[in-house]
């Protein structure tokens, strides 16, 4: 019973949503799901947030490695909850929007969260350089193709690309790097993308059916599937 009901729920709602696409009176089922999901996610956050606090409080109590930083995490979390839920430091008071200009909540977002987000994003420049360095040591045919294509597209987006192949005659202008880059993006790249996307579509159909039919059930804590 405990195992059967969740499987039945998955099957029933899955089948309902599949058929709702073809039955006009049921077309809003997909929108309703988005509504449900947003609400459930907020309730679930109590579990997640509670877990975050429990982990760090435990680390603090047991003086595990790096425990002082757990104080910072807990303090940051508590601070944002307090100023956000009770709108402390909000120029418009409790009735104003929580993200009102000048509110402590928004100021912390602007001067703490935004620089942190931007900097993490900026780290990608360093990581893409290290990944490119590794790709340059192409050891097989596939990696070589990846490298050459990346090189052409990269050069094609800079003035250097045009400079390097400016000697190519006009009748063969497609071999100039910027034009070659455009052609690669419009033709072979498109072909590869299509093959991957078609495969993904079919993979989703297959996996969704396995979930709906109960062939796949480990996420329900049932490993007998």
């Amino acid at each position: 019973m405990k195992r059967q009901i969740p499987l039945f729920i998955t099957f029933f709602v899955g089948a309902l949503l599949i058929f709702s696409v073809f039955i006009p009176p049921m077309e809003s089922a997909g929108e309703n799901f988005t509504l449900f999901f947003d609400i459930i996610a907020v309730f679930a956050f109590f579990l997640g947030g509670g877990n975050l606090l429990r982990v760090h409080i435990t680390k603090l109590k047991r003086r595990k490695q790096d425990w002082p930083f757990s104080i910072v995490t807990i303090a940051g979390f508590a601070f944002m909850l307090t100023v956000g839920i009770f709108k402390i430091g909000n120029p418009g008071g409790i009735a104003a929007s929580v993200t009102a200009d000048g509110s402590w909540f928004q100021e912390v977002f602007n001067y703490v969260l935004t620089p942190l987000q931007s900097t993490m994003y900026a780290l990608l420049a360093f990581f893409v350089a290290s990944a490119s360095y590794r790709a340059f040591r192409a050891k097989n045919r596939e990696a070589t193709i990846l490298l050459i294509a990346a090189f052409i597209i990269l050069l094609g987006r800079t003035p250097f690309g045009l400079m390097v192949t400016s000697w190519v005659p006009e009748s063969l202008s497609v071999l100039q790097i910027p034009n070659l880059a455009i052609w690669i993006m419009n033709s072979p790249n498109l072909a590869g993308q299509r093959a991957i996307i078609i495969g993904i579509g079919l993979g989703v159909v297959s996996m969704s059916l396995r979930l709906i039919l109960g062939v796949e059930r480990t996420y329900l804590g049932d490993d007998s599937g």
Binding site: N51, G199, V205, S206, R210, E216
Partner: protein, 421 residues
């Protein structure tokens, strides 16, 4: 023996529940009745002797919109004679609706030149009459009214018949092959390198005494890639439980935390080691994309996992995670269905599951006939796609280049079948 920490409601949980309880305990105000406020100014402009004149529209007809549940009606008309591109007096049209004999309500304001409109505010239990006015700078001129119409509810959308047919063929193939496999027929599936390496990757972590890190992507349970990652986790967890290897699974969404715990716990129970399971194997970090990545990077360099699985939906952070894993010398198996992130995984990881291989992985790893049967169904879909591409390309090439009628007809049929509605 590890004493399993039971979940219980702590003071922390009550503190978080407090604002929620305050909000929902307030009595609800009864829903307002009646129609919603009309955003348009509904006053008809009455023409006077000094007004700029225009002819009303003609041949105004109303028809039921196909394949809806009574919420749409289609209107067409012949534009006013004073609506030429240059020099006309009409500056626009207004569409008015009369529901069940009540007062006219303005439902649309349209630019000059328009000759049709779909009203999406109707209901199947009311009768409607329409008229359209030609609007000038000082007045509007009413057309003849339509006959009363009650919208129909259609129970099936026949515009999507080909989509239904294809879903039936592909889905039916999956079901048939699952059933065939259940009856004992052996199904061949070729080797997928990344998945063949899973056992060795877990074994490596066990031998080195270092943990495994599993990252199920950064999206929530409403994304199909996250579900794919969790189904693979189910298979990998069995191996982990058998080998008694440590696993860390930091997650970015609370629901994924819940599902991840259920998955790993079930694996340990099946392996006969329920006491080895701990909820601390799966921990919530933050919903913020880069906050999560910062924390996971920290875990990687401090815990130094021997094996990292990156399976699910990833965005820009894919490269940060993969490069950090590479830096610590972990063996990495990655997979995502986002084509834009696959190149970074290819460059930084040891094995990458490309697109549909992510969705096939759990079936492949289970090695169970009924799961493998679903992979055959995928192949049926691919075979259909390949056949249609060959047929379509040949037909359209011959038809277009040499104007062969039958080939053009075939192309039209194929393109119509595969058009999406």
């Amino acid at each position: 023996m590890i004493i399993q920490k039971r979940n219980k409601i702590t003071k922390v949980h009550w503190l978080l529940l407090l604002p929620l309880l305050i909000c929902v305990s307030t009595p609800l105000v009864a829903a307002q009745s009646g129609t919603s406020a009309n955003p348009f100014d509904t006053t008809l402009i009455v023409p006077d002797t000094a007004a700029v004149a225009a002819e009303p529209v003609t041949d105004l007809t109303v028809a039921d919109h196909r394949y809806d549940h009574g919420e749409k009606l289609d209107l067409t008309w012949v534009p006013s004679a004073d609506d030429p591109p240059v020099g006309g007096t009409v500056v626009g049209y207004r569409v008015y609706r009369i529901a069940d004999g009540s007062e006219p309500v303005l439902v649309a304001e349209l630019p000059p030149g328009t000759n049709h409109h779909t009203d999406e505010g109707t209901s199947a239990d009311s009768s409607y009459v329409y008229f359209v006015t030609s609007v000038t700078t000082s007045a509007e001129y009413e057309s003849a009214r339509t006959e009363a119409i009650v919208p129909n509810v259609e129970w099936l959308n026949f515009d999507k018949k080909y989509l239904f047919l294809l879903a039936l063929i592909v889905g039916g193939s999956v079901v048939i092959f699952i059933e065939t496999a259940r009856r004992g027929k052996k199904l061949f599936v070729r080797k997928i390198a990344g998945l063949e390496a899973v056992d060795d990757a877990v074994g490596r972590a066990t031998e080195m005494g270092r943990p495994i890190l599993f990252i199920p992507g950064i999206l929530d349970m409403d994304d199909v890639q996250t579900l794919a990652g969790l189904t693979i986790l189910g298979r990998i967890s069995r191996v982990i439980a058998d080998y008694d290897t440590r696993i860390f699974m930091p997650v970015s969404r609370s629901l994924v935390m819940t599902a991840g715990r259920e998955t790993i716990k079930a694996a340990y129970q099946t392996a006969g080691r329920p006491d080895k399971y701990s909820d601390d194997m799966v921990t919530y970090v933050t919903d913020e994309q880069f906050g999560y990545v910062a924390a996971v990077d920290g875990i990687m360099v401090r815990e130094k996992p021997a094996t990292v699985f990156l399976l699910g939906a990833f965005f820009a952070e894919s490269l940060i995670l993969a490069e950090t894993g590479n830096y610590i010398g972990a063996i990495q198996i990655a997979g995502t269905a986002r084509p834009a992130q696959l190149p970074f995984f290819i460059a930084a990881c040891d094995f990458t599951l490309i697109g549909e291989e992510l969705f096939a992985a759990s079936a492949y790893l289970s090695n169970e006939p009924k799961a493998l049967g679903s992979l055959k169904g995928q192949d049926v879909g691919k075979a259909i796609a390949m056949a249609v591409i060959i047929l379509g390309v040949v037909a359209v090439t011959i038809g277009e280049a040499w104007q062969v009628g039958i080939m053009n007809d075939l192309t039209d049929i194929l393109r119509a079948i595969f058009s999406t509605m």
